[in-house]
């Protein structure tokens, strides 16, 4: 091997090892932190894009997933002090939410309060949204408002964006 090639090769290897080691150290220190909170209780799954006839009401099934160990109130919680799960589409997006049909909640009783029967969603759930879109492409930012708890604690109410590309044909 030519001496120059050898030198260049050695330099590249040293650099690469140094960079990888530096990255590894950084990742290592990050992995030690243990977060207290579950930041995203609910994730929007799909669809990302839908095609619907322009001007006509169309059903779109919106799929969501709730993080393991958590529950959120259904759309019709059994107590007026609980925050219901709701879906909305802001005005001015070119797509109107005509109606939303929510799944029935499952009844849940927590060990600390056996007399209270909660109506909740867990795991995956689907909201049937009936939308009316004008002709054209619309990037809709729907809003899902919910409030999540686990067995012993609750997270503050939250609104997540449900991004869907709606094509009105």
């Amino acid at each position: 091997m030519h001496p120059l090639t050898k030198r260049v090769g050695t330099a590249v290897m040293v650099l690469a090892i140094g960079v990888v080691a530096a990255r590894g150290q950084g990742l290592g220190s990050k992995a030690q932190s243990r977060p207290l909170l579950k930041t995203e209780a609910v994730t929007y799954l799909f669809p990302e894009q839908v095609s619907v006839p322009a001007g006509k009401p169309s059903q779109v099934a919106l799929h969501f997933r709730i993080a393991q160990g958590l529950h959120i109130n259904s759309h019709t919680p059994n107590y007026e002090y609980l925050i219901p799960t709701t879906f909305s589409i802001p005005d001015g997006s070119g797509v109107q939410l005509d109606a939303a049909t929510y799944p029935a909640g499952s009844l849940m009783t927590l060990t600390y309060d056996p007399t209270t029967k909660l109506s909740v969603y867990t795991g995956e759930f689907i909201i049937q949204a009936r939308i009316v879109a004008t002709a054209g492409n619309h990037l809709v930012e729907g809003k899902l408002h919910y409030q999540a708890c686990d067995n012993n604690a609750c997270m503050p109410p939250k609104t997540i964006t449900v991004a869907i590309d709606v094509i009105g044909k």
């Binding site: 650099l15 530096a22 207290l36 909170l37 002090y81 609980l82 604690a153 609750c154």
Partner: protein, 216 residues
Amino acid sequence: MKAFPMRRNTLVLGATLLILAIFAWAGWANWEYRRQEAERLLSGAGRGELVPAPGGGTPQYISPLIGKTAPAFELKDLNGNKVSLANYRGKAVLINFWATWCGPCRVETPWLIELRNKYAAQGFEVLGVDTEGDDLKPDDKAGWSKATAAASKFVAQEKVPYPVLLDGDSISRAYGGLDDLPISFFVNRKGVVVTAQVALTSESDIESKIQKALNQ
């Protein structure tokens, strides 16, 4: 034999470009790592951690506020009166962050009332800090009015004897963020946080922490 210098030049150029690319990548990686670390530190300022108890018992909430003076605050109570933490210097205080939509908070409230009444004569008080308006904008008058009404209704229903303060979210950052409720801070007579608790535990657990605040 003329091909060798050309091949060597190509090799040197290639190696130089590769080294430059590695430098650029290393610089970007370093910047990205520092940015993420800065974000993590910023978002985690003052936040506590849940440490699993040995043998799988109730996890301990380790707040960075433990051993430090409880952050000062002045909030309005349900009657519109200003209540300051400084007014309670000389008493042990349980600062309990709660909300009406929080089921575990509602379960815990009767325990707090009972313990407050039990230890009040020894110089103990509970300050209930309502965080009802967590997702409300400051100018949402209807929302705030509804939130205050909800808190007032619950307080009347449970006959809560201790001060219940509004707009707890305005002091949440100082107390490490209120991402899980209920959260309680146990403050001794000198105004120092001696222990803290997140989530529903038990009345006996809360009582032992009150005793700690009274005796330390």
